[in-house]
Structure formats: structure tokens, C-alpha cells
Amino acid sequence: MAIIQRSAFVALACAFALSFIALPALANDTLTLKEAWTRATPPGATNGGGFLMITNTGDEADRLTGGSVSGVGKVEIHTMVMDGDVMKMRELPDGLEVPAGETVTLKPGGDHVMFMQLEKPFEEGQMLDVTLTFEKAGDMSTMFMVQPVGATEPKHMHGSN
């Protein structure tokens, strides 16, 4: 009887510990997504880059691995590098790491969320409801504001300023 009681207690303790480990990931409270934006696409363009700031206040690194948005065939995580005067864009097959305690900024000319196979162009002023997928935090949604073609930074993000 004592043995059964003890193993039941151990099982309960384990379940409690497991739920504790799983909880922060489900709650997504270690990652904050800010200033998400993209650019209006020229007529007929089939893809565009998305940019944002991701802050990880947790103790563990996470990874942005992909996402989805309606009207967009697929979403990948890419990087762009200049090799001398040559532009090279590559998919990051393992996604983009967001180290513990750090903020990662995706911006033009560097890492970006790649929206591919657009059904119709992104239009200035439009808001895109994007779901981003993280290895640990799971799916998180955020609104991407469509800035003008050629915008280099997320202007007018806060309305009042």
C-alpha cells in the first residue's frame, strides 16, 4: 500500500513538473513580437519580404522556423547577404535563432520572413494577419503593416507619433 501511494505521488510529481516545463511554451510569454511590417509589392510581383523585432525574455533560445498568412502560398525564413557587390538570398533551413535575453531584428538587406506565391499584391496601408511559427513557443500571430514600395523602416507604426 505504501509502495503504491509512493509511486502515485511520484507520478503526480512528474506530471506536475512536466506541466510546469510545458506551460511557458504554450503561454508564449517569453517572446514579444514588435513593429512587424512589409512593403507594397510592384504589380505582378509574386513575393515580398517581411520584417519585425522579436524579443526573447526567456532563459532558452528559440527559433523562428516559418509561418502562414492567407493569400500567400508559402512563408519561409530567408537571409540576404552582400558578397562584395553581389546580392545573395538564401533560405535558412533551420530557421532563425532568437537567443535567450536578446532581441533579433529582421530588416531589409538581411534576415526576413519571405512571403512567396502571393495571390495578389500587398497594398500600402493594408494589414496582414500573419502566423509565425517558433520551435518552442509554437504559433504566434501578429499584424504586419504594409508600408510603401521601397520603405526602409517601419514608419508610422504607432499612429500618434
Partner: protein
Amino acid sequence: MTTLSAVRYALWALLAGVVIGVTAAALGLFPGAQKGTVSGTATLGAPFTLTAMTGEPYSWEPATGAPHAIFFGFTFCPDVCPTTLYEMTTWLDRLGSDGESIKALFISVDPERDTPEKLANYLSAFDDRIIGLTGSREDIDKVAGDFRIYHKRVELDDGDYTMDHTASVLLFKPDGSFFGTIAYGEDAETAVDKLRRLARS
């Protein structure tokens, strides 16, 4: 004459021969080397005929009489190409009438996807002075080679692909000689200044 002095004469003769030979070689080679350098710069770009976004043939040759800004890209490009096109639009805008004589050519390095119609549609978002050009793969490779533009197809998954390519804008004077480049991400003031000087060249 002793054997020793004969050897000495022979050595002097040999030395004189070497000196004369080296001098002659240097004199002979120097103009050649210089000529090579000069023609290397002058031959950036060569006459070509491609297809304009209107569907009409478009020919370029060095001495066009108009200053040219020539750059290469592709419409599938999500970042650098629309940025450069947008910047070119704002630079030309800022130049106002100063920039009226400048012709801007956007040459596709992805002719398989960039049809004249696709280019016309895409470029309608930018300055009308920008002329989109495409052509056969062979013609594009030849033109890119003549302008020393690196380009390479890189596969992404699911059959998609991107193009690595030189992102600089090449500037040519009205007489066809090379004026300089505007690098990707170059400061707008510097770029506008270069275009202004190009327009007056």
C-alpha cells in the same frame, strides 16, 4: 690571348647581351601593357540588342549620345531590386530637369520568368524613364558578361529559384565611356550627386 682573358671577354659579352635583351624586352612590353589597361576600361559593355518591355527590339551601343544608368535584376527579387528601382525613381525625381537626359536600363538576369509583359507591369510602379529589357538566355548571358555582371541561378525548394547577381548601378557617359558605379545601399546624396555629374558629362 690566354685562356683566362678569353673567358673574361666571353662573360662580358654575355652580360652585355643580357642587358640589351632585358632593355629591349622592357621597351617592347611596356607600351603593350599600357594599351591593355586602357582598352580594358574602355570596353566595359558592348553593343547589344535585347527586347524592351514594350515587346520591341531595343539596341544599345556605347556612343548613344545620352548618359546611361544600367543595372541588372529580376522581378522575383524581394528586396534589392525593388529597392534599387525605388531609389532610382527617387533619385531621378530629385534631379528634376537636370536628370532628364539620363536613360535608365533595367536588364533582367531571369529572362525565363521575366517576359516583356511581366517587366512592363512590374516597372509601372517606378519612374517611366526606367526601361525594362529581357531576351534569350544566351543574349542575357552575353550582355551580362560584357558588363562584367555576375549572375547565377540558385535553387530554393519546390522548384523555386532565386538569382545571385551584381547589385551595382553602372553609369556611362554620353560618349559611352564608363563613368562609375552606384553601389547597393549607397547614400542618397552621393548617388544623386553622381547622377547630376553624369548628366552634365
